[in-house]
Amino acid sequence: MRDTSSSQNSRRAFLQASALIGCSAAAWPLMTHVTLASAPGEDRLVVIILRGAMDGLDVVRPVGDRAWAALRGPSLNGNAPPLMLNDFFALHPALGDLMPLWQAGELGFAHAVATPYRNKRSHFDGQDILEAGTGLDVPDLRVRDGWLNRMLQSVPGIAAQTAFAVGRDELKVIEGRAPYRSWAPDTRLVLSQQSRQLLEQVYHDDPLFRDAGDEAMDLADQLGDDRAMSPQMMRKAANRADQAAALAKFAAERMQQETRIAAFSISGWDSHRAQSGVLRRQLSGLSQAMLALKSGLGPLWKRTTVLAVTEFGRTARENGTGGTDHGTGGAMLMAGGAIRGGRVYGKWPGLDEADLYQRRDLMPTADVRLYPAWAMRVMYGLDRNVLQDKVFPGLDMGDDPRILL
């Protein structure tokens, strides 16, 4: 547990000092030779995007709600006994490995949350809005940067290594003009000195290729192992089951070094049919990823906040095919030694038909952006106005839900 007031003060002092040298760093997005200790403090933030709309109601089940039992049948809930989180909510059994974290106060949830996106229920617009962090319920085409990137733009002294996008999926949440790095754990690049120089020449006039090429060669030098990838390594890289944990392990390794902020995504949450099997597989991947972060970060886990968010929730009622269709309100997961876990945050709207959004979906009672906003305010000392106007335009942060210790 850390002393919030003093660490915040020293962080502010640090940020003010680094502002003096910050402008030159920001002007050169691929700068790699900054003293990497100039990252924003020691706190670690991991953002996981869960693509495909995770069913928050199934992950954190409101078993204490009188309307719950009638909404979901046994084909969805399965036979495994629910893991009671408190006298109202139960955890999906596939997250059983995370119960020790819950008990230690290192796992928590926010329920009945949503982005401002409503009604059309498109995965792809929903994800764009989630990652852009904007306040309208349609994608704002003028906003091309992700909210993590806008946060980075607001903190002076950011170096390229400070933020890391991990994996092969496009990750709009971190894209934008502030520097960040992007790599997949299983990438190798072995080149002769001559080939490398020639490639630098042939990429020189095309900025997209020049930047990606420079990054690739730099990162291969720093992170790679200079052996070419063996067929066995390639097969492992292609194995879906290990992927989430592999991304998390790589992120943890980076955060042992200069990286403070990492993001990756896990797709496959769209469970229109046979949801019990889909969620068992997905949650086991997510659980392994969380545990890989914890073990990979070691003592740094104490300074770590992990937030896992999805584009929207799913219908309150089971559909006709043992699954659920696209909905609105859902749940967010938080983990890490820095959080005040062991609780489910948020105001519960109830599940009676009249309480549902459009008599169909869990009614959102809070803007999901609230939680990352308050986390970043506490971790990085960002001004409330910056968070409400720039990072999450249109957000009213309200009172601190105090999710961090």
Binding site: R51, R121, S195, V202, A216, G268, D270
Partner: protein, 474 residues
Amino acid sequence: MRRTAPEETQLSYSPMIAAIRFGYGLSPDIAPPADPQALLAGLRAPDMVAKTYPLPSLVQAVDGARALREARAMEKMAGDRSRQDRVRAARLALRGAQARAFVSQLQRAVHAPDGFRERLQYFWANHFTVAAKGPAMALLPYAFAEEAIRPHLAGHFADMLKAATTHPAMLIYLDQNSSVGPNSRAARRADAAHKRKFGLNENLARELLELHTLGVGAPYTQTDVRQFAKLLTGLGFNSEGGFVFRPGRAEPGAETVLGRRYGGEEPARLTDIYAALDDIAAHPATAQHLSRELAVHFVSDQPDPDMVAAMSAAFQRSDGHLPTVYAEMLAHPAAWAPIGPGAKARQPWDFIAASLRGLGTPPETLAGFDPGRVQRFLALPLKLMGQPWLQPSGPDGWHEDASAWITPQGLAARIGWAMKAGRFADGDLPDPREFVQTALAEAASPTLITAARRAESKAEGVGLILASADFNRR
């Protein structure tokens, strides 16, 4: 000469650009299309490559899946491991068929005289994305592209829409086969017998409006989605995998979609579903959405609005006749903007196919690959480049933006593959100084021509050319 600025010259047709932007690139053996008419005429010509390089049919895809399922069931029943060899054999057979299908698809791209047809198939199969749900169904996406997409590339969009919507691969991928009208005879019978509850699934209805036709910005509502899901009930397939319409599973009563009423007959009729698909295919929002998608895929991540408007008008004027829309695209000067920084990036499949086409890889080389090599030399590299083949993460298919593909990790995988691409050459590796001309002609920049000369070995020279920005743009 290189990359003349658009305002300096009138942009017009170039055989080199036609081959690279609208096909799978230049080849030492195949001449590029001489004019836009040649590009379009290719679509009407007999489909020879499809005969030479066949793809699995639906029947074969279903047979493969069934063999594996039955072997698994027998293994379970036997209760011991005595049936394991049968499961292994079924799995091996599927794996072999999958590798052959992959190679066939690639051979077509490498050897087709009319690369435009292959690129159109890629585009439309991705527009109507289907992915295999589990290894047993690995052949279905091939059968889908071959049977629902390819016959309609030069036809009317409405016909492709109907074929795609009713193909078992789509019905499975977007769960339509298990969606049952809650008040249908089938659902009432199951209720009475206390069997499992039948009901609706909105997946296909939503994605059809959002992705396949109108586009997400169009004025449709959740009520339209729900009504359309009810209208689509009854679409299914039999145990041989053949499409069937089952009125007993259809929701009774009429449905209103986008302000028009469909159905209401008892028993329900497939023709009412077709009528709705025809109307949705002819909607102005569909014309606009598809025209923009085509322009984005073939021409530019930020297409000229004027080109999209012209294509959309052609779509509406011709009742969704696709070659008319393609012709409008090819007739627009923006289609012939020079290839260079800011142009489209080749997607990984396009990159690998164009590399082999440029190298003149003989059909025997790929045909001789066992499944292990297909995996090691082609399928895994595709995945590392960001494109796990036929497994996009959602029904919206692959990204179009160059920046989604040319990432540090994605480019590293392209460079790594390019440096080993010599294994695909026809005999000896080509001289890089000649290969830069074969593969890029006047699209090669002076910098690349110089660099190709300075490579330390032929393999590195060829790798450098394939990995270059010049070759990866189109």
